[in-house]
Symmetry: C2
Subunit: 642 residues, 2 copies
């Protein structure tokens, strides 16, 4: 295999083997990209010449390159370059500083030229330079002599100005380190909004100095201090990411009422909600005391979060009376938000007659709701179709488009945290988030799902250098389940499986916020990369592929005995016994299909239908896990039957 | 396999299969441990009742348990317990606070009682409680119902009061995050000294406000600000770890002279040293100006580092004249150190007539040097035999003992960083450091190497929950080398290999501080766990073992073709071609030996000798990597010949 860099240019390219395609794969794809001739070598002499860009950004960029390549590069300003060691490098120019804080609609464009003699990154503002740095880092690939970037000319700018991710820290607590490493990964795929869902029935997560009972009684001690909030906001700013706080009201606010029951529509003794769902407690929309409180609270939070936009939630109010009062409530809150210099954002439900025209509506209900929003002259953000916690394939999200209607600012992927903990959140976001980030940044006609998957796999590995743990956490979680036994049978089973998402886990209501998320389903990935590779192999069926397929099918068959040897009435593992048996059966079916294929013999009548039916059964969830392995086996069966 | 907890009690226990042995394996082993009956369940209701211990320590402990188990536990003070959810838990009592700063010789003992009804941890001071927390966390293991700790009574205290690790951040820069995660892991195995080697010829790593030219010209911009130093020292304090700074003088000080050439014994224009070795430049021991500077500098650093001990290096002075002056230099520096309220520590070479009697001598030369130190009435620390950067087997370090002579305070493992970077340092320290930590903490008669390896493997996985990356970084580094190709052939090769240590890499002098440490040798582990398991299988040779052995040998044989398909004149990978071929050959030899063994046929005359000779060749380093796979194959060959 040659080490030539293959730049993937939209869907028009012929299929290339994944291994080759992955080299220097860009995600999101830039607007314009023209390959040049030759390569720029990246070695110890690599330096950055700065004209007008923030030194901190350059230092971070160099640290990233060092991490990604293992090549030592001096810190900014006092680096190796100054000692005459600098060779060819990157000259970066920021024609103007970035705004004090990242701002909706700011210019994020950049131009990147890479030649054998050096690279040049030019941007109207420092924010564009940040985006260009990520492109450059992503283009770097190993070469015979170390690392290199293939010559290229890139002109790039985003399709949408609002490219966000919503992180729910109300339902499960996410420490600062988790948020920050995700900010690094978000910046890497050019996202620019962290929508921080900071309160819900299960937790109030911010320190209020004016109303300390909120966090004192509403958080189990798990809240961000104001210093930590400032730290995260500054961290995001350095990466060109806005932080939009959400305080969900008047519903989803049980946690507020634990310490401040006087705010409730109904008097009572409130406890932090441990279950999941929509609950009756609401803030009292009929009381002036509520608005006086909100004025103080919103004022305090408006000072803490510099972004112009302030999200008040507004979704899923259960109480009939409160629902009636909600339009008026929203208007009052909007006035308060505006009074503190902010523009209000709310979920679909806030859209009602009388809503201030500058409100931004975030649509979780669907394209019709978003269209209605736009028709009424409101600005909108699409989240429908981008719920990462449903654990759908990246390809499904990738096909959802916010559309081009006037007023559509972009989209936000959401990570609702009923079944997502600090430990599992990275793998529930990455790498699928990268595909959605491409949808938000790249042209509408960038739609080839195969190309997306090829590049997403490379991006998934590349993202590890940003610090997210989506790949690293897999084996430790399985090893915890193995409890000191050899992990291999669990790894084979895990690689063949996919975790079920929100809907299936919600069934039966057996989970609370206190239920540990440490079972096999929590370790399993939303999409199995090994199974996808096997599907690709089944589609190709070269002689080498057939060999690989047979080895994998045999491994599945043999794994069941090894797995059974691990289990001993253990609830962690015992629930997986049927899954392991199903994997064995799937392997056996696959081996039979392979025999038909290789012997060029048609299977007997009804065999194909029977196997398909059997595979329907094997594809049913066990212990909230789907046997992804059934998919390539089905492909084999159907190929044999053709 | 049953899930019963097996507590490993010293060397007397019969051999147990590794999988069983690993459950709740303790390292270091406590002084006294008596198994009880039953188990304490660990679930969401787990609470900690605190009497006199720091709340921050308890919060950290609960966070650790949460991370290790995936079970949500509220933050300290405002946790779930207060809401009536607390069940049985751990009652911890600190009879007295810890000293303001961790102190040499402080009481670190604790008593831990675990019963089915609850656990009790009692310590004379908060430091002992920290040690006990780690024991409790290490005892936790998965159970059919979640997690549990087997009933036990433990009385524990350290053998030595000085149990350290020396981290060289002069030769390769280690960011704060790297130091901090290693402090967490150190605390986990009850180490209590971070000896921070903060300056060397290749870098001066601390901000001096009095002499800013030191870091400005001597660090490539890679230095700790004073705020960062305070942060790390406080971080260590919270974990019961002293921080002893070392500023190496009068030799190993080239980096000081870049900005302050006036301190040099020989006038000149100094540059940061990029090579490795012992260099001529020294501080001018004959000039009063040097002592005036050192008085100011040591005073400033004495204020920054609260520990009573201050390390002045003093090793490897190359200049003949300087060597003559060194005893006088040391006496002068000792007086300055003492004048700023500190006790001096130095390497072996400081031991000379006239050296102040309270000086602590750190021995890198060997037991004789340490004995001489003790004989002369000085206190000593052993580092000889504990150089982790030699990448020796844990078992080798484990057999080195500081001894019981009067005045021996303990030992320190050293991580010299010529061939160790921020990326690779964790895997060069862990898990082998845990074996040395046991040597420093546990009784002298805890010496069983098999038991140590069994527990070290479990501890290696457990340490991942502290945040060290020694296991997590392996695949990403290999994937970087694979450059987008499937990583499997590299993983098979990597699992069969071991990285060569300092001496071999130093040969030929081709490395500088700017050479990237991103090759296969840097990804390879110092000790291969898969090969160790194979050696154990070869020693046992049960029918199941033979099956495993054959599969592995075949994998090695088949891997070579897959590996070759990846290589294309690539320097990253091309240098490994002979290694891959050697692995294939080793696999072939092993398969032949296996055939003899299974057919109960004696191999022909000379065959055993010939294969042993061939294996000698295969065991030679290739690309600075040792083919560990040759060892189990040699065992097979010799077994066949018997």
């Amino acid at each position: 295999m040659t080490r030539a860099i293959v730049l993937i240019l939209l869907a028009a390219l012929p299929a290339v083997p994944p291994a080759t395609a992955a080299r220097g794969a860009l995600m999101p794809l830039p607007l314009k990209m023209t390959p040049g001739t030759g390569r720029l070598a990246i070695d110890t002499r690599f330096g950055v010449t700065n004209s007008g860009c923030p030194e901190t950004a350059i230092a971070r960029f160099k640290a990233r390159i060092s991490r990604q390549t293992g090549i030592p590069l001096g810190a900014a300003g006092q680096g190796l370059a100054e000692q005459g060691l600098a060779g060819q490098g990157l000259a970066v120019t920021c024609q103007a500083p970035a705004p004090d804080w990242p701002t909706l609609g700011e210019n994020e464009s950049y131009t990147l030229d890479v030649t054998t003699g050096g690279a040049r990154l030019t941007a109207p503002t420092a924010t564009g330079a940040l985006r260009g740095f990520e492109t450059f880092a992503q283009l770097m690939a190993p070469s015979p002599d170390g690392f290199e970037v293939a010559a290229v000319h890139i002109e790039d700018r985003p399709r949408f100005p609002w490219r966000g991710m919503m992180m729910d820290v109300g339902r499960h607590w996410m420490p600062v380190a988790v948020v920050e490493r995700n900010l690094d990964a978000m910046a890497a795929v050019k996202l620019n909004v962290l929508h921080w869902h900071l309160s819900d029935d299960q937790g109030f997560r911010v320190e209020s100095k004016l109303f300390p009972k909120l966090q004192r009684f509403g958080s189990d001690g798990n809240f961000y201090t104001q210093d930590q909030i400032r730290e995260v906001v500054a961290y995001a700013r350095g990466r060109g990411i806005r932080v939009v706080p959400e305080f969900d009201m008047p519903g989803h606010a049980t946690s507020w009422l634990v310490g401040m029951p006087e705010l409730a529509a109904t008097p009572g003794d409130y406890q932090i909600e441990r279950k999941w769902g929509i609950f009756a407690p609401v803030l009292n929309a009929a009381s002036e005391r509520t608005y006086a409180f909100l004025d103080g609270f919103i004022g305090e939070m408006a000072g803490l979060f510099p972004d112009r936009y302030f999200h008040i939630g507004g979704d899923e109010v259960d109480d009939a009376q409160a629902k009636t009062l909600q339009p008026r409530f929203n208007q009052r809150v909007q006035a308060l938000v505006k009074g503190h210099g902010k523009t209000m954002v709310g979920w679909d439900e806030v859209l009602a007659p009388g809503l201030a025209q500058d409100t931004v509506v975030q649509s979780w209900r669907g394209p019709e709701a978003l269209a209605e929003t736009a028709k009424k002259g409101y600005r909108g953000i699409l989240s429908y179709g981008y719920y990462l916690n449903y654990l759908l394939p990246a390809g499904t999200h990738y096909q959802v488009d916010p559309g081009d209607a006037e007023g559509i600012l972009g989209g936000e992927a959401c990570v609702w945290a009923e079944y997502v903990s600090a430990e599992t959140v990275d793998s529930r976001i990455w790498p699928r988030m990268a595909a959605i980030a491409e949808r938000f940044w790249s042209s509408k006609d960038v739609r080839d799902v195969n190309s997306m998957y090829q590049r997403m796999e490379a991006t998934s590995r590349w993202l590890e250098w940003t610090g997210v743990q989506h790949r690293a956490d897999y084996l430790p979680m399985l090893e915890r389940l193995a409890g000191g036994q050899a992990v291999e049978p669990l790894r084979v089973l895990g690689d063949a499986s996919e975790a079920a998402g929100h809907d299936l886990r919600a069934k039966g209501g057996k989970y609370t916020s206190l239920t540990p998320l440490n079972r096999f389903v929590d370790a399993a990935r939303p999409e199995s990369e090994p199974v996808r590779h096997l599907e690709q192999a089944v589609a190709r069926r070269t002689p080498a592929d057939l060999k690989t397929i047979r080895a994998r099918l045999r491994e599945w068959v043999e794994n069941d005995a090894n797995f059974e040897a691990m289990v001993d009435g253990d609830s962690f593992l015992g629930e997986l016994t049927p899954l392991s048996r199903n994997l064995k059966t799937a392997g056996e079916i696959g081996l039979r299909a392979l025999k038909y294929l290789e012997s060029n013999t048609k299977p007997p009548r009804d065999w194909v239908a029977q196997q398909n039916q059997a595979l329907d059964g094997l594809g049913q969830p066990v212990a909230e896990v789907i046997l992804a392995a059934a998919r390539p086996v089905r492909m084999l069966v159907n190929a044999a039957g053709k």
